[in-house]
Each structure stands twice: as structure tokens, then as C-alpha cells.
Amino acid sequence: MSALESYWRENLSLIRNLLIVWALVSYVLGILLAEPLNAIRVFGGPPLGFWIAQQGSIYVFVILIFYYASRMAALDRKYGFED
């Protein structure tokens, strides 16, 4: 396998994993399970489903992008593909 192919394969698996987290937080926890999760109030504040949909998911999105940028920087270095 060429360097390009294995670089791309690692990139794709990273993207796939991060998109699973993205979909899990927003669509599964924030929408599909919002009603049952609303029965829980973890911080003594708003119900959990409501909190994830209006606030928590956004924090996760920010973390996902910075995590991706740093992992990709490492991957670029590993294969000597830095720009």
C-alpha cells in the first residue's frame, strides 16, 4: 500500500469515528432520546435532554474540530505530508 493510501485510510477512519460522536451527541442524545433524557437533571439545573440540545452539543462540536486538527497535524508529520 502506498503512503498516500494508508494516510488516506487513517484519515477516513478518524473522520468516521468523529462523525459517529457528532451524530450520537446531536441526533441520538439531543433529539431521538431527548424525551427520556429529560427525566434526568444532572447539574441540579435544566433537564439533560434539553441541556444537550441547547448547549452541550455545541461544546462537543468545538472539541471535535480542534481534536481533528491536532490529530491530522500528527498524521501529516508521520507521513511527511506537512504543507
Binding site: W8, S26, I31, Q55, S57, I58, F61, Y68
Partner: protein
């Protein structure tokens, strides 16, 4: 000094700042005009993208919209932020590596087809024009509300300022004014959010106050006592399916909007595009996580102050008198019992709160200095002007670069190209101004249209161009056309032709997701039934997958 004098001073100062930056950043060559010379540091590009992205509506109306929708307001919060994850992971670094000027250019080159290029140019023009009208109107409204000028004068002021910056400074001028505009808008938003949060909960950080206080639950209970919806309960205003589909359409649409994508062309390297998307979302999140807090606190405060209170007591409140005059707050003791009741029925409801009042009234409700009122006005203006400018560049480059230079006259000189781009900007703003002054009633639906279209045409075409080496012209063009026609037909049919929502009751705002899926499906089937793309295109795809060499691509 009065709030009005402060507003005049702050608005004129910020306008002067934007014009000054626009003049300082004036450009003479196309690389500067289209992509700011590719020298914008990732953090600055993040701030510029945030201002580019957050429109007048995000600043002025979003918190109000959420406070009326309750839980279901999440479609805007998640939809308009989650798209950046898609941008950062799936689009930004590869488009930057490809390293040319516009989105239609990528589509046209990758699919080696002028048909694909023209479909992309038309979509880019339509999406951007539809989006620029409400921005100009936003400026008109802010200026008329705060400074008493009429809306038309306000719209023309917006046209003058944005056209000046975009015409002389191009993308470079726009980038650096957007950085200044982001600073103004976020300071204005946070000052009011912090003050309100501190006033009601004693915690000055709105995000923490929202998370660790029980205000959302108290608001929910208060609404139930008054006979309104439970605030924190999902799917009261939109069905679960629609919440799902609208969120997804807004995410994918965000990732497919050309004025957002081209901002990633301006950073020096492909790896910078990844970081830059992170900074952009962080800067956006500062406002988007404050908004749901402002929504809860101000709605609780409004209901608590107004509902079931004696008429004389309410009429004595300063901000009630002031906002009653603007017509944004309507109080009417219909049953004559001396008490204002709020109810879910239009006939018996005595308190009508325009959703724009949630943000606009906050400084006065929280008893802030009149300077802050001026700042909020300047913040709303900054949000609307920065978005308008980004859209102008998309339209100018689609016509002068993709249509004129790439198709009509490939030998055009640098000067001709720039002149055409500048004339387009002037024409577009002048054309858009009358729509901003007398907006067609369906402007909000048009914005939904823009997202649906971006989701159902651009997004799949670009994604497949990068991730599917086998995708060819036939597949991409067929996919874009099917996505475009399906989405447009459903939106036009259900909005204007009186069709029922025939597809599982899907709202027109959420149909873009279905259009996108159709696009992917048709593109795949058609491409596999037709010959593969030429070898040099497959090489191009390999090429854009690695960051290495982005510097050379910029030299083209």
C-alpha cells in the same frame, strides 16, 4: 447623554472604522481581491468567518426565536453550529489544498464540465442574493429603531458602506473589517448577556448560570401555570421528524454555503484551514451558547414582570412604556379586569411580545448604561454588514471569475477581471436595495430555500468530488439537478401553490436533507453506469487529499 446620542456616536465611529480598514486594505490584483492574498492567519480567519456567518438575524432575532420555540429552538442552535464539524472534517482542508478562487470553480474543474460550472454559478448567485436581502433590511431596521431614520435611508447606508469596502478592498478588505465587526458584535452581545445573567442569578457567566441554575425549569413551570407550553419539553412546536430533518438541513446547508466555504481559501495552508474552522466555531459558540441563556432569562423576566400584574403597576415600568411605543410590545386589557393576562389563545391574550424584543430590550431591562444600548445597535449592524459583504464577494466572483473569465473570455486581463468584479458588486447591491426596503413577504421562506438548496446541490457535489475518485461529470450533474429540482419543487409547492406537506408532513425547511440524499443516490447510480473520469482528474483528487504542496498551488 441619552441613549440616542450614544448610539449615533458609536454607530458613526464603527462605520468610520470599517471604512478606514476597507481603504487601508485596498487591492489591485485578483489574488488579493478573491482570496485576500492567502495571507490571513487562522485565528483571524476564524473571527472573520464567525462574523461572516452570524447574520443580523443571529444577533437580533435568534435568542427571541429560541425563547418562543422552547426546546425546539435547538434546531437553530445545533443546526447552525454542527455544520462546522462537517466543514472542518469533510471540506475545508481539501478545498484549500485545491487552492483556487471559488466554489463553482472547484465544481467546474473537478467535473471537467462547463455545464457543472454553470449549475454551480446559478446556485451560488441565487443562494447569495436571497441571503443578502435580509441583511440589508436588518441594517435598515436597526438604524430606524435606534436612530429614527427611515428604513429606506438605513438600507442605502448599508449599501454604501458594504459596497465601498467590497469594491475597493475585495476579500482582503472584507476579511479585516469582519475581524473588527466580530469584535464589536461579540462585545455587545456578551455585555448584555453577562449583565442579565448577573442580575437574575448572581452568576455573571451566562453559560454557567444556564447550566447550574434551575431557571429553565422555573420558566417551564411558570409557562405551564400561565397555560402556555412546557419550555423544556421537546417537540411542542415541531414534530420529532421535523426537528431531526431541519437540524440536518441547517448543518449540511451551513457546510454548503459558498460564502462560508470561500473563507477557507484565504488561509496560507491546508492544515491552517482545519484550525481555522475550529476557531470559527469557538467564536460562533461564544454567541450561540449565550443565546439560549439570554432566551431563558429574558423570557422569565418578561413573563414574571408582566403576566397577571395590575395594569397601573406595569404601566409605570420605564422599558414597558418605551417598547410599547415601538409596537414591539403590545399590552391590552381586553376583559377590563385591571390585570394583564397572557394566554395561548389570540382572542383572550393581552400581552403580545415581538421576539426581537428579547435581545433589543435587554440593556434597559438589566438597567445598563445608555452606552450599552448604542453598543447593541452597533453589534446588530456589524453582524448584518459583515454577512452582506461576504455574500457580495461570492456573487462578484461567480460572475467575473467563473462566468466571464472561465467561460466567455479566458484571455481577459487582470484589470478587466477586477473591473467586472467591482461593477458586479455595485450592481448587485443596487439591485438588492429595493428588496431590502420593501421585502417580499416570503423572505424568511427564501432563507430556508437557500439552505435547502445549498444542502441539496453543493454539499454532495463537493463531498463526492473529494471522497469518490470514481465520480464523473454525468453523475455530479444528474445529482445536482435532481437535488435542485426536487427541493425547489417541494418548497415552492408547499409554500406557494397550496400543496399539502405530502412527504410525511416534512416542513419545507427540512426538505433539503431529502434532496441531499436523492442527490447522493442519483450521482452514485449515474456515475457507475457511465465511464470513469479521465486519469488527470483522478490524479487531481489524489493531489487534494494531502496537505503537502498547498503553498505551490497558491502560486498558480
Amino acid at each position: 447623554m441619552s441613549a440616542e446620542v450614544w448610539t449615533w456616536i458609536i454607530v458613526l465611529l464603527t462605520f468610520a472604522l470599517y471604512l478606514g480598514i476597507g481603504y487601508w486594505a485596498r487591492v489591485r490584483e485578483t489574488t488579493g481581491f478573491y482570496v485576500a492574498g492567502r495571507g490571513v492567519p487562522p485565528v483571524a480567519n476564524g473571527a472573520a468567518t464567525a462574523a461572516d456567518w452570524m447574520s443580523g438575524a443571529s444577533f437580533i432575532s435568534m435568542a427571541g426565536l429560541i425563547s418562543f420555540l422552547g426546546f425546539d429552538g435547538a434546531v437553530y442552535l445545533m443546526g447552525w453550529t454542527g455544520g462546522y464539524v462537517l466543514l472542518a472534517l469533510l471540506l475545508a482542508p481539501y478545498l484549500r489544498k485545491y487552492g483556487k478562487f471559488t466554489v463553482p470553480e472547484f465544481v467546474g474543474d473537478r467535473y471537467y464540465s462547463n455545464v457543472a460550472r454553470v449549475v454551480a454559478v446559478i446556485s451560488a448567485l441565487f443562494v447569495s442574493f436571497v441571503y443578502v436581502v435580509p441583511q440589508l433590511r436588518g441594517v435598515g431596521i436597526v438604524l430606524s429603531r435606534y436612530l429614527g431614520v427611515d428604513v429606506a435611508t438605513g438600507v442605502w447606508a448599508a449599501v454604501l458602506v458594504t459596497a465601498f469596502i467590497a469594491v475597493i478592498g475585495g476579500m482582503k478588505g472584507i476579511t479585516w473589517t469582519q475581524v473588527a465587526q466580530y469584535t464589536v458584535l461579540i462585545i455587545a452581545y456578551l455585555i448584555t448577556g453577562v449583565a442579565l445573567s448577573n442580575l437574575l442569578t448572581g452568576n455573571p457567566i451566562p453559560q454557567l448560570a444556564f447550566t447550574f441554575s434551575d431557571f429553565a425549569v422555573r420558566l417551564s413551570q411558570l409557562q405551564v401555570e400561565l397555560g402556555l407550553n412546557e419550555y423544556v419539553k421537546p417537540f411542542q412546536n415541531l414534530s420529532q421528524l421535523n426537528v431531526f430533518l431541519i437540524t440536518l438541513t441547517l448543518m449540511v446547508g451551513t457546510a454548503g454555503l459558498p460564502h462560508v466555504i470561500i473563507r477557507f481559501y484565504t488561509v496560507p495552508k491546508a492544515s491552517d484551514a482545519r484550525w481555522s474552522a475550529g476557531w470559527a466555531l469557538l467564536f460562533i459558540a461564544l454567541l450561540y451558547t449565550t443565546a439560549p441563556a439570554v432566551a431563558v432569562f429574558s423570557k422569565y423576566n418578561l413573563l414574571n414582570t408582566l403576566a397577571n400584574k395590575p395594569v397601573e403597576e406595569v404601566q409605570q415600568i420605564d422599558w414597558v412604556q418605551k417598547w410599547s411605543k415601538t409596537g414591539l410590545l403590545k399590552l391590552e386589557d381586553k376583559n377590563g379586569d385591571g390585570i394583564y393576562q397572557i394566554t395561548a389563545s389570540r382572542d383572550t391574550n393581552e400581552i403580545t411580545i415581538d421576539r426581537d424584543i428579547i435581545v433589543l430590550s435587554t440593556p434597559e431591562v438589566a438597567k445598563l448604561s445608555p452606552i450599552v444600548v448604542g453598543l447593541v445597535a452597533a453589534g446588530g449592524l456589524a453582524a448584518a454588514l459583515s454577512t452582506a459583504a461576504g455574500l457580495l464577494i461570492v456573487m462578484a466572483s461567480a460572475i467575473s471569475h467563473d462566468l466571464y473569465t472561465r467561460i466567455i473570455n479566458p484571455q481577459a486581463s487582470e484589470t478587466t477581471k477586477l473591473t467586472i468584479a467591482r461593477v458586479v458588486i455595485l450592481l448587485v447591491t443596487i439591485l438588492a436595495a429595493p428588496f431590502g426596503i420593501n421585502p417580499p413577504a416570503f423572505i424568511a421562506q427564501l432563507v430556508a430555500f437557500a439552505f435547502g438548496l445549498a444542502a441539496s446541490t453543493f454539499f454532495p457535489a463537493i463531498i463526492l468530488g473529494i471522497f469518490d475518485r470514481r465520480m464523473n461529470t454525468q453523475g455530479a450533474v444528474a445529482g445536482m439537478l435532481v437535488g435542485l429540482i426536487f427541493t425547489a419543487t417541494y418548497i415552492v409547492g408547499t409554500n406557494y401553490l397550496g400543496w399539502p406537506r405530502f412527504l410525511f408532513g416534512i416542513s419545507p425547511e427540512g426538505i433539503g436533507t431529502v434532496g441531499m440524499l436523492l442527490n447522493f443516490l442519483v450521482a452514485y447510480l449515474v456515475s457507475r453506469a457511465t465511464p470513469p473520469p479521465p486519469v488527470e482528474i483522478q490524479k487531481l483528487v489524489d493531489e487534494i487529499r494531502v496537505p503537502k504542496g498547498a503553498g505551490q498551488a497558491a502560486e498558480h
